[in-house]
């Protein structure tokens, strides 16, 4: 079928040859070139001062930044143990913080005014005061409550705990960081939950699912897509916030680095050592976050984005025929 050629529109007319591919002179971008050159000079200067410039202190050789000192301490047992404790603090506080956050978020969305009010109050207190203050608070709480007794409220007690022996610096810091994180996580989780379409809950209910199951099986898995990126952000932030635990002498990375430099006065070098460890750990966490996000993207995107490894493989596959083309026949 063909429509007569009216108004310049033709259908099914015999296909003419495909017109020539456009070859045009591209627009020039002189600004980019200037900016590029300026940046290159700045980078060269930075590398020069970091690596090649010599120490200005009389009687002392070596590079200005003392890289040999950095190398010496980078894998020293004290530092490595400090990094491990930082990681422990982060993992413990994040796990507790996420669980607490889900609980507080669900309470916040409760229809009971009392329950949602308590949740609101919790977030108000723990988001509204500095983490540093909270760390001190939980460290010194044992002075207020040397013993804690578990039992019936206002009635007899069964177990008595000596807080001074249980709540050491590490656990006081973990408690403070967890409670603080719980408050922030509750807002993140709440945002994720309310982003899920109401029809999802209705569909779950009409299948006969009860509220808890609908939350666990239908709402939370979908909320995860929104919850994961800020949670990754929180984890990376927590890794660094945990350095505040140094004020109550938890032997985490920053505290250890400070202790060492207090003895040998190599302050900058040890700060660099600590920073390298922090950077390494945040890098590993970001990779983990990427894969977690990909996992929860199932069903949300038509095709999952490729992992870097898959992308590499595809690029190689693409390259190969081109390489062969380049070779003389």
């Amino acid at each position: 079928m063909s429509i007569p050629n009216e108004g310049g529109i033709s259908t099914d007319s015999p296909q003419p040859e495909k017109p020539e591919i456009i070859k045009a002179v591209p627009v020039r971008h002189p600004g980019r070139w200037v900016a590029g050159v300026v940046l290159l000079v700045l980078v060269a200067m930075a590398i020069h001062t970091l690596v090649f410039s010599q120490s200005q202190v009389p009687g002392q050789g070596g590079s200005r930044f003392g890289w040999s000192v950095v190398r010496q301490y980078l894998f020293s047992p004290l530092i490595v143990r400090g990094a491990l404790i930082t990681l422990e603090l982060t993992v413990v506080s994040m796990i507790a913080g996420v669980l607490l956050g889900v609980l507080i978020a669900v309470m916040r969305l409760s229809k009971s005014r009392l329950i949602s009010g308590v949740a609101w109050f919790y977030a108000w207190i723990f988001r509204g005061t500095p983490v540093l203050v909270q760390i001190y608070f939980w460290f010194f709480i044992a002075a207020l409550y040397p013993h804690i007794t578990l039992g019936i409220p206002f009635g007899p007690g069964f177990v008595t705990i000596n807080l001074n022996s249980v709540l050491g610096a590490f656990w006081a810091a973990s408690l403070a960081l967890s409670l603080n994180e719980g408050a922030y996580m509750s807002e993140i989780v709440r945002a994720g939950i309310i982003s899920v379409d109401e029809g999802q809950v209705e569909a779950a209910h009409s299948l006969g699912m009860r509220r808890g199951m609908a939350l666990r099986r239908i709402v939370l898995p979908q909320a995860m897509r929104l919850i994961i990126p800020p949670t990754g952000n929180e984890t990376i932030s927590m890794l660094k916030t945990s350095s505040l635990a140094s004020v109550i002498a938890v032997n985490e990375l920053t505290h250890v680095a400070n202790n060492i430099s207090a003895q040998n006065y190599k302050t900058i070098q040890l700060l660099i050592v600590a920073s390298i460890w922090y950077l390494a750990m945040t890098t590993v966490l970001s990779v983990g976050q990427y894969y977690l996000e990909r996992h929860f993207a199932r069903g949300a995107t038509r095709a999952l984005p490729p992992t870097p490894f898959q992308r590499l493989k595809r690029n190689l596959r693409y390259l190969r025929p081109h390489l062969h083309q380049g070779a003389p026949a």
């Binding site: 029809g199 999802q200 299948l207 006969g208 699912m209 069903g299 949300a300």
Partner: protein
């Protein structure tokens, strides 16, 4: 006389100052297909949602299969049912939504099996087998592993029907099942529904598909302003409407 599958007596419902339903009386017999038509805002969807207690009714009584919806009556007093009891009743009534409401994070197969396995505690292998059968029955046997948003609207709605059927419902509610579909995809969903009706399923269908109502419906109910204006055999009601408002409505829809 058999117990009606749905019975409504003077059902009222309002949202704030908005009176959505103002005295609905009707009966749906087992195996009957009732189509509800009417302008938007006339209360059709709200009535459907009252039947499986997604909304609470304000006044009147509503029974499904002889049992009161949402309440238990004892010594002339009404007691609200517990969440668990409401859910147990909902599990016997399936609902198909205008916007499908498939679970996007689950595969097509998992969408169909999640109800039977998690709510009715069927063994996974049995539920899977049944789901595969149902998906084949709605013509989607090859889409088992796909995710909902890889499917067209018509395919998604057919998955939603399979998901509903997997619960072995005694009553199916359809809330404008074809209104969100491209015109060319409406037919495939209506075909599945027609087969269901022929198999003897009791169905309450809110729809704007007059052809479907006329061919498949045993009764048609025309609602306007929260009231039933005209009801009866669709071949009579739709062909020879008595009420001025229905005549007006049909002239715009057909």
């Amino acid at each position: 006389m058999t117990t009606p599958m749905v019975k409504a007596e003077e059902v009222y419902k309002s949202f704030g100052a908005l009176d959505v339903l103002q005295g609905i009386n009707l009966e749906v017999a087992p195996g009957e297909v009732m189509c509800m038509i009417g302008p938007s805002g006339s209360g059709k969807s709200t009535f459907l949602r009252l039947i499986n207690h997604l909304e609470k009714l304000d006044a009147g009584r509503l029974w499904v299969d002889g049992e009161l919806v949402g309440y238990r009556e004892k010594n002339n007093r009404l007691y609200e049912l517990k969440d668990r009891e409401v859910c147990a009743k909902r599990a016997e009534i399936a609902m198909v939504f205008q916007r499908f409401n498939l679970f996007p994070h689950l595969s097509v197969l998992e969408n169909v099996t999640i109800g039977p396995t998690k709510v009715k505690h069927q063994p996974a292998s049995e539920a899977k087998e049944r789901a595969a059968d149902l998906l084949a029955r709605v013509g989607l046997g090859d889409k088992v592993k796909a995710y909902p948003n890889q499917l067209s609207g018509g395919q998604q709605q057919r998955v939603a029907i399979a998901r509903a059927l997997a619960m072995d419902p005694k009553l199916m509610l359809f809330d404008e099942p074809t209104s969100a579909l491209d015109p060319e995809l409406v037919g495939e969903v209506l075909d599945v529904m027609r087969n269901l009706a022929e198999s003897g399923m009791t169905m309450v269908v809110v729809t704007h598909e007059m052809g479907f109502a006329r061919e498949v419906g045993d009764t048609v109910v025309f609602m306007d302003g929260g009231r039933i204006v005209e009801a009866g055999n669709p071949r009579e009601v739709l062909v020879n409407p008595q009420n001025e408002r229905l005549r007006n409505f049909l002239s715009k829809v057909l």
